[in-house]
Symmetry: C2
Subunit: 824 residues, 2 copies
Amino acid sequence: MTTTADPATAWRLGSGEGVSEETLERVDRWWRAANYLSVGQIYLLANPLLRTPLTRDDVKPRLLGHWGTTPGLNFLYAHTNRAIVERDLDAIYIAGPGHGGPGLVANTYLDGTYSEVYSHITPDEEGLRQLFRQFSFPGGVPSHVAPETPGSIHEGGELGYALSHAYGAVFDNPELLVLAVVGDGEAETGPLATSWHSNKFVNPARDGVVLPVLHLNGFKIANPTVLDRITDDELVALMRGYGHEPYLFVGGFDDEDHLTAHARFATLLDEVLDDIARIKERARAGDLTRPRWPMIIFRTPKGWTCPPEIDGKQTEGSWRAHQVPLANARDTPEHLDVLRGWLESYRAEELFDATGRLEPDIAQLAPHGERRMGANPHANGGLLTRDLRLPDFRGFAVDVPTPGGAIAEATKVLGEWLREVIRANPDNFRIFGPDETASNRLSAVYDTTSKQWNAEYRPIDDDDHLAPEGRVMEMLSEHQCQGWLEGYLLTGRHGLFTSYEAFIHIVDSMFNQHAKWLKVTQRIPWRRPIPSLNYLLSSHVWRQDHNGFSHQDPGFIDHVMNKKAEIVRVYLPPDANTLLSTYDHCLRSRDYVNVVVAGKQPAPQFLTMEQAVAHCTRGLGIWEWAGTEVDGEDPDVVLGCAGDVPTLETLAAADLLRRNIPDLKVRVVNVVDLMRLQDEREHPHGLSDRDFDGLFTDDKPVVFAYHGYPWLIHRLTYRRAGHANIHVRGYKEEGTTTTPFDMVMLNDLDRYHLVIDVIDRVPGLGSQYAGLRQRMVDARLAARQYTREHGEDIPEVRDWVWPDAGDAVGQEAAAALDTGGDNE
Amino acid sequence: MTTTADPATAWRLGSGEGVSEETLERVDRWWRAANYLSVGQIYLLANPLLRTPLTRDDVKPRLLGHWGTTPGLNFLYAHTNRAIVERDLDAIYIAGPGHGGPGLVANTYLDGTYSEVYSHITPDEEGLRQLFRQFSFPGGVPSHVAPETPGSIHEGGELGYALSHAYGAVFDNPELLVLAVVGDGEAETGPLATSWHSNKFVNPARDGVVLPVLHLNGFKIANPTVLDRITDDELVALMRGYGHEPYLFVGGFDDEDHLTAHARFATLLDEVLDDIARIKERARAGDLTRPRWPMIIFRTPKGWTCPPEIDGKQTEGSWRAHQVPLANARDTPEHLDVLRGWLESYRAEELFDATGRLEPDIAQLAPHGERRMGANPHANGGLLTRDLRLPDFRGFAVDVPTPGGAIAEATKVLGEWLREVIRANPDNFRIFGPDETASNRLSAVYDTTSKQWNAEYRPIDDDDHLAPEGRVMEMLSEHQCQGWLEGYLLTGRHGLFTSYEAFIHIVDSMFNQHAKWLKVTQRIPWRRPIPSLNYLLSSHVWRQDHNGFSHQDPGFIDHVMNKKAEIVRVYLPPDANTLLSTYDHCLRSRDYVNVVVAGKQPAPQFLTMEQAVAHCTRGLGIWEWAGTEVDGEDPDVVLGCAGDVPTLETLAAADLLRRNIPDLKVRVVNVVDLMRLQDEREHPHGLSDRDFDGLFTDDKPVVFAYHGYPWLIHRLTYRRAGHANIHVRGYKEEGTTTTPFDMVMLNDLDRYHLVIDVIDRVPGLGSQYAGLRQRMVDARLAARQYTREHGEDIPEVRDWVWPDAGDAVGQEAAAALDTGGDNE
């Protein structure tokens, strides 16, 4: 990939002439305007420019918002505008302290973006009135930086992800600068604390630049912040330890004149940007060693410019300024007067003309067009999204001569296709994972790419696929992987996150926030669809041979299901060919969260590619070859299955039934797309009742072997006519064992138990096949006893293959299992 | 609280005489023995002392375990043993790299603990054989440090929590030393990265000491680690930035002689422990300022002492040593020979006598009795648990003259009781929360205690309840709160975690691991029950007036429900008195996870304390006063409700029905204990079908207003006879609004919609009450319109009170709502 901008202009040094007083005055006027608009949004229903004396009725009855962080955010925004114009920077702004919603709204209103995307919020007094009124108001906009906020890729509700989002945005965007403001409250979170280390994963030539600003205003809701209450020595050491060169700015204290503060900060920002320009210059010249990237420690008073005291209590510079400093503005004339005085302190009459339009000299501070941070297309990534060039996955198919007639590792096969995806898309596709890409058997990708790494190298790394540039991002932090990927997707690129199934719960709350973001953006016309967030969960619950109970948790699927049906998709491909077909679909999709669970262990393959494509297209279907149905008659029992291990056990059960109860009409239904089980009124993929009953019947027993917690299948099917007949086996928190069959037995999901379930549920079988039932009970005991004696599964299970598959396959399966798994 | 040990002996300085060669020799012999036993566990089925030539059959068929981190853990264990004996330390060991399970098993076997708790693992050759065989073997013990491992309070499966567990353990344990080994892989996780800051929350006199050891062995599964690949300057700066004094140890490289390494480390450890002793001395003398606590950077080769190369590839000192370095020990005679040579390198014949017992001189390295880290009662906290002295909660009751006849903030009332709990239990009860104790309205606790804080103080903190000692622990990291509390509970003390409901998902995976720990310990006889993990989730989904959509997620309940029924409890008390009764119950319980969701906003109160106790004892029940049943007859419809806001809307709906359809027989059932809905076969709290049907009927429509995602109620009740008649309203991911009623309307949970639901579901009402139905539709539109115009809820809703409650209450409610909420 080459840089898209002219290197002679991108990342230029500053003029070196300093900032003129006129410019500083303009910066200050912008800042005052942004602050005024922020206070106005929190407090005012009407009378936006105080053209008439402020009355109680001008004030909102319920005051909801956060002032504390806002003036600092506004200060930084104004100064960054100045720098963008002077250096023609391509920059976006991430507000870690997302509670400062009014600030980001204000700035994008000032630069004109807001009125462009919301045409009713006009640049005049009436527009101001509406701007104020809508904020944190029923039917209006949220109080946080949110999808509704132009220029944002970062919801400010849940804290911790500002830096990982920022780094995700700059990967493969060599000319992009992300000003990433980190609140000192947010800085206490775990995800943020580790995300400083992202600088070891940046390529200084091919990636852009994150400029972190630690916004140290000292207080959270009701407490001081840790980083504000350690010595400067410790704080500077911490930032150096993280690999940064800290620039310390302390402003706004002891009645410092605002213009002085502006002058000092403008100088500091120019130094920082020059530092970045020099680093970029070195990188362009081929020096890719990790630079000591600059960062800014920005210490200013909390709630800067609000009343110093309210009701005799310190407010500015205290936690009392965190939310609504004057919470009872309507209750007394005195309080109303405090609000009036506060608003008037910004001298709006100098900032807006008679019609309410921003004075032209202030407006000049804003960059033009897409250089405005509110209008930068990187912050509306769908605008920049290019479709992936996807090689035909059919070319990577496993040859399956008969069902069960091949052994393959599903994720390994997928890795071969992903290698070609990477080849074909060298600058807009990445794989993220916490040190598990190889463990999850995707190593084929290393034939064409590496893990991007910009820390020290040692000789032993030669064969470890590390390089300054690579498509695979690995750090042992699921938070980082998720945050980076989100930032990458939100700026319009593609990727996937491969994780151990159990530990994806680490990012449950991040998933929540991303799913909410997607849901909201679908109703915002100017937000363009972005590539889906794709999970590949391997090393799943049933094959934790090395790790046992702590690594067993299939509940992410349940977690995902609580989000909007229009957003979430869950796939459980039973073999390699279905996994290929599924993933091709996922990488083509937009605005979804796709959860794909697939095994990595050697396992029998069931479908040819043609069958796999058809099966995935339907999402579920009858596997005629596995059942013993008679044409035109209802089956006696349906064996449902979803997930690779449950499918294997179900087929083995079907085999046992066929051999032992030859007259029984068994239907086998496999489910790839879990959402198909749901009602069509609940999910766009849902089946009609008629189609569902056509597959599962409305009156026959269904024994369903499911990959995860059994209750989910009930939740999905409780409205179906035959629901009372559905009996589900799944994971029920019984673990800690080391052989595959022992594990399924612990949870009653094994073939023998499925046969018992059938005997117990099909009318009449119980009495007729009591002997078979006892043999199944005995077989389980024998299998259990065998593992305890030999440490591996009993050969009749381990070597079992689907009857038509041939013995050679069984030997191959046994040999593959013999060495144990290699999962972490 | 006073210290429990004699200050003259606790935290003594070392002898200053250095460590004798004899002792170093003994340390090395212990280390060799521990390493030998570790390799034996991973590989050997039989022939544990190689009394006969090693054969293929002696080797386990499936090799499952992790060697890489183990020798380092063993090295530290041996040295700590030496120091414990010399200084009479009260110490436990937390193995962050929990994959090193064989190491911790080995050491506790060597010190005799293992054979004491597992009598069949005898200190002889047969015991060794069983010790080896059981490891990571079906029916045996897991490969990680786990509940089964004596001396452990820390499962090693999911990484990130070693330090927060360690700090939780030392709070209020002034004489306890926790050696907390942090893997350099783990160090990349977010939770670990922020947990270094725990040192700002420790009281150096009243709390114990955490000695962090950063175990820098350089590799994860397939990658180098970040902290191993930055310069020593950066690493030292990072640790200083975190507030530590780092001691750097580099050992085992370049063929360093083991005794030399031991000598150097012993000297360093003595320096560190002297440093700690001096800090403790100063603290005892009254200097509580935050010391620069020492920590150790321990850089040794990954897989230290395993074969340097296997099959021509570097193994020791590489990621190839992470798991089973020689994965195919059985496949060729050459590989078997590598294993034999590796085992023989430890010279077991010098370490164990002819019977297989450890040589007495080595055994002497172990401390005695409870000073052994395997037998230290702090690591089996139930042994040390004292019941809380709980003041009678009835004394804190809200006076409720008639149902709805009082307004109160439930959590505020709870706070008053918690204040007395703290007074009565000054050294074994703490409250943990991410800056939300005040926001969640528990501020009454500050009448008697403070937030513990050991960073800088400023004058403004005077009224902020910060102090060097306090019962409230607040850091803006849910991970820290959870980890600290877990450590505190696992060492036998009590506490609760108060969080915003939505953001408790941040610790989903930590909850998983703790629930799994509790489940496993219940089947380990020597593990004694520990106090329950109590959540108080406030600022819940329905009242995010300030924050909107990003702060709305009631799904933690769903997440919790996937864990074992014997562990989890979920309570939704509808008012203050039920909350008091519920929490009293929770603080008395053991080995559970109790999730309590309760509102903090001013709300009507319904039950007298006597009624509340009875209601909570039953867990659910009919509120006769709210219904219009006729004695001896079935109702026409049942209104079910769970959660404070749904209960309010249900009562308002019942009021509307009573006034508008006077003949309708309405039953109102409120649910406090959600598990009661489940079948008695599924959960110990579950209702029998007969009791369930007695409440909800088996054929009448049930309109159920639920706090969370509606599907959960279906999941809990799908087996009930009347399930098809249950219609649930709950949260369905529709948010972003700022008034309470607008929010419930968005999700169709409001009173008007509940009435519509009743009309649509009770046979015959639809035609007869079409006019009423239309009025309900119109009322919703009017209410919606009103909020959009006025920014607050329509008075008829806002001022509504239960008919018998009196108008004064309505005015009070309206006044309380008028100022808006104050949630963050």
